[in-house]
């Protein structure tokens, strides 16, 4: 078999985190009963007019700047015409001729080192409705709640060569957009969806092969498998003397294979033309400058700052900044307790362990910075020992309990009452005369045994420092 190279470009659709839709005042909230987030504008009633949500333009600009694009200061919308029930107007308002951002790129880490994936363009558009096939009747049900939710489509150049590179690119993209606050990028809710354009060619051949497109992939795992599957399919086809046909294919993750979507009778011809209902957009230098000035700190900067300002190891900073949620939690907790290393440890060890155990993403964490800071204060003030702290943390993580109240209620606090400790230790000393003799005879290790016995007597809930001190004091007084 010849050696082949896989060539991949992505079109990534991202739902923007605006409160209202792109052209009307309907909510963009995910879910909701069918057709309850719909008005005459987004349902395409005759006589209605769209008015552009300013936040959409600013989010698109922010994304473009963070992805190193140049901003098209004179831009406009175009009309993409097609008939399908998910699109009540029978056209989608999108951008073809003057997309808001062009010519960007981001650097990804690959096994062979750093690599730039170029971004061809980013354009703004409206999302379509959702079609659900009715299982009882031979019909399709249409829900327009998602119709008109603002999207940006980020189109890469065909610069990726493997599933690993694609996933590295998507992860970087997702993180940047989350940090910007431009989108929550929840793949399970469809707020980040990728179309994969893939072709193969013999190594050394300069021309691209014929590509296929796989639409709306919505998990990293499925994307990895789809790329592997489609790559193999195309190579086998070529090896058998066949030809790849340019078509849209659907990846079936259950069957682990892609199949051609029944092509519509007519060729795709969207007959784009300038959208007459929306006046053009002119982005002034001042406006662009203002958006640039408001760009939040992104991951790489944040990582460096964590190492410098908080003195946490590079690896910890890498993991914590790997999720906006974790980074926010970290900073807010540190602000409350001023113990960056402690906070980092709780996030790196126990939080990661529980996330893994519960098969959760950091985005699903529900405990608050105040709860974690409260727990850290309890440990720091010697109110509880580390074993108890882990137990309490698990409750904080799973049930969002208030750590102080929980410790109080379940009597988990360390005993630091001098009288109680002394009487328990006196008892231990009386019960272990041999150890006392050993200590007197110069075997200092015997003291450790007595301390251990005292801790056992206190069921682990004594402040070890205090126990140590009292044991020594009593022995020395004998």
């Amino acid at each position: 078999m010849k050696a082949y190279e896989t060539v991949i470009g992505l079109e990534v659709h991202v739902e923007l985190a605006t409160k209202s839709k792109i052209f009307c005042g309907c909510t963009t909230q995910f879910g909701g009963d069918p057709n309850t987030h719909v008005c005459p504008v987004c349902s395409g009633m005759p006589g209605t007019l769209p008015v552009l949500n300013k936040q959409v333009v600013e989010f698109a600009m922010a994304a473009g700047l963070a992805l190193n694009c140049s901003i098209t200061q004179k831009c406009k919308f175009d009309r993409k015409n097609y008939f399908y029930p998910d699109l009540p107007k029978a056209y989608q308002i999108s951008q073809l001729y003057l997309p808001i951002c062009r010519d960007g790129g981001i650097e990804i880490e690959t096994e062979a080192g750093k690599k730039t994936v170029r971004i061809h363009e980013i354009h703004m558009e409206e999302d379509a409705g959702k079609l659900v096939h009715d299982p009882w009747e031979d019909c399709t049900l249409v829900d327009y709640n998602r119709c008109g939710v603002p999207l940006i489509e980020i189109v890469s150049e065909p610069d990726m060569r493997s599933a690993e590179e694609v996933i590295a690119y998507l992860e970087k993209l997702r993180l940047i957009l989350q940090y910007l606050g431009v989108s929550d990028c929840k793949m399970q809710e469809g707020s980040l969806r990728a179309d994969i354009n893939l072709s193969v060619r013999e190594v050394g051949v300069p021309e691209f092969g014929t590509r296929t497109e796989m639409k709306n992939m919505n998990s990293f795992k499925a994307i990895g498998r789809a790329i592997e599957g489609e790559r193999k399919r195309q190579i086998e086809l070529l090896e058998d003397g066949g030809k790849v046909i340019q078509e849209t294919r659907r990846w079936d993750d259950n069957k682990d294979t892609s199949f051609a979507m029944r092509s519509k009778e007519d060729a795709q011809d969207y007959r784009y033309f300038p959208e007459p209902d929306l006046p053009p957009i002119e982005i002034s230098d001042e406006w662009l400058q203002a958006v640039r000035a408001h760009q939040p700190e992104l991951r790489d900067e944040k990582m460096l700052r964590y190492e410098k300002e908080f003195g946490i190891p590079e690896y910890d900073a890498l993991i914590i900044t790997g999720s906006k949620q974790l980074a926010d939690l970290f900073e807010k907790t540190v602000a409350l307790c001023q113990k960056p290393k402690e906070v980092s440890n709780w996030l790196m060890v126990e939080t990661m362990r529980l996330l893994k155990e519960q098969e959760m993403d950091p985005e699903e964490i529900t405990f608050t910075p105040a709860q974690l800071a409260g727990l850290i204060k309890l440990v720091d003030g010697n109110k509880i020992n580390r074993t108890v702290a882990k137990e309490v943390f698990e409750k904080v993580f799973k049930e969002n309990v208030d750590p102080e109240a929980y410790v109080e209620k379940h009597g988990l606090g360390l005993v630091s009452d001098d009288g109680v400790l002394r009487s328990a230790i006196r008892q231990v000393i009386e019960n272990n005369p041999q150890s006392v003799r050993d200590y007197m005879g110069g075997k200092s290790r015997a003291m450790g045994f007595l301390v251990g016995q005292a801790m056992k007597e206190m069921k682990g809930k004594a402040d070890p420092g205090m126990v140590n001190q009292i044991v020594k004091e009593m022995l020395d007084a004998m």
């Binding site: 605006t18 409160k19 209202s20 009307c24 005042g25 309907c26 909510t27 009963d33 069918p34 057709n35 309850t36 987030h37 719909v38 008005c39 349902s43 008015v51 552009l52 949500n53 300013k54 936040q55 959409v56 333009v57 406009k76 015409n81 008939f83 399908y84 029930p85 079609l131 659900v132 096939h133 009715d134 009747e137 031979d138 019909c139 399709t140 049900l141 249409v142 829900d143 327009y144 659907r250 979507m261 029944r262 007519d266 011809d269 007959r271 300038p274 007459p276 929306l278 006046p279 053009p280 957009i281 002119e282």
Partner: protein
């Protein structure tokens, strides 16, 4: 004639319009005349003139990002030829 009857059929199909055999030739001639008329624009010297997509002297018409609409489903579905469970019911789409 630049517009052929095939073009008419194609454009009609894209627009989901039915154009009868008899109409096709007439439509082709009409479209052709319209294009001819627009061709006269090519006689103008447009060097240095920026392409214009809108005739009104307007730009940057925005709304703030505020939710103003509420659930109007009942009203919305009033004209639906068929509805089910709060959704529009349409002929089965081919995936």
């Amino acid at each position: 004639m630049k517009i052929t009857e095939d073009t008419v059929k194609y454009v009609a199909a894209l627009a989901k319009l039915t154009v009868s055999e008899e109409e096709q030739q007439k439509v082709a001639e009409d479209l052709d005349r319209i294009l001819d008329y627009i061709e006269t624009m090519n006689g103008l010297d447009t060097d240095g003139v920026e392409p214009m997509s809108h005739v009104l002297p307007m730009k940057n018409v925005f709304r703030e990002d505020i939710v103003t609409n509420r659930d109007e489903r009942e009203q919305l579905l009033r004209n639906a030829p068929k509805q089910k469970d709060g959704s529009f019911a349409v002929p089965k789409t081919v995936e």
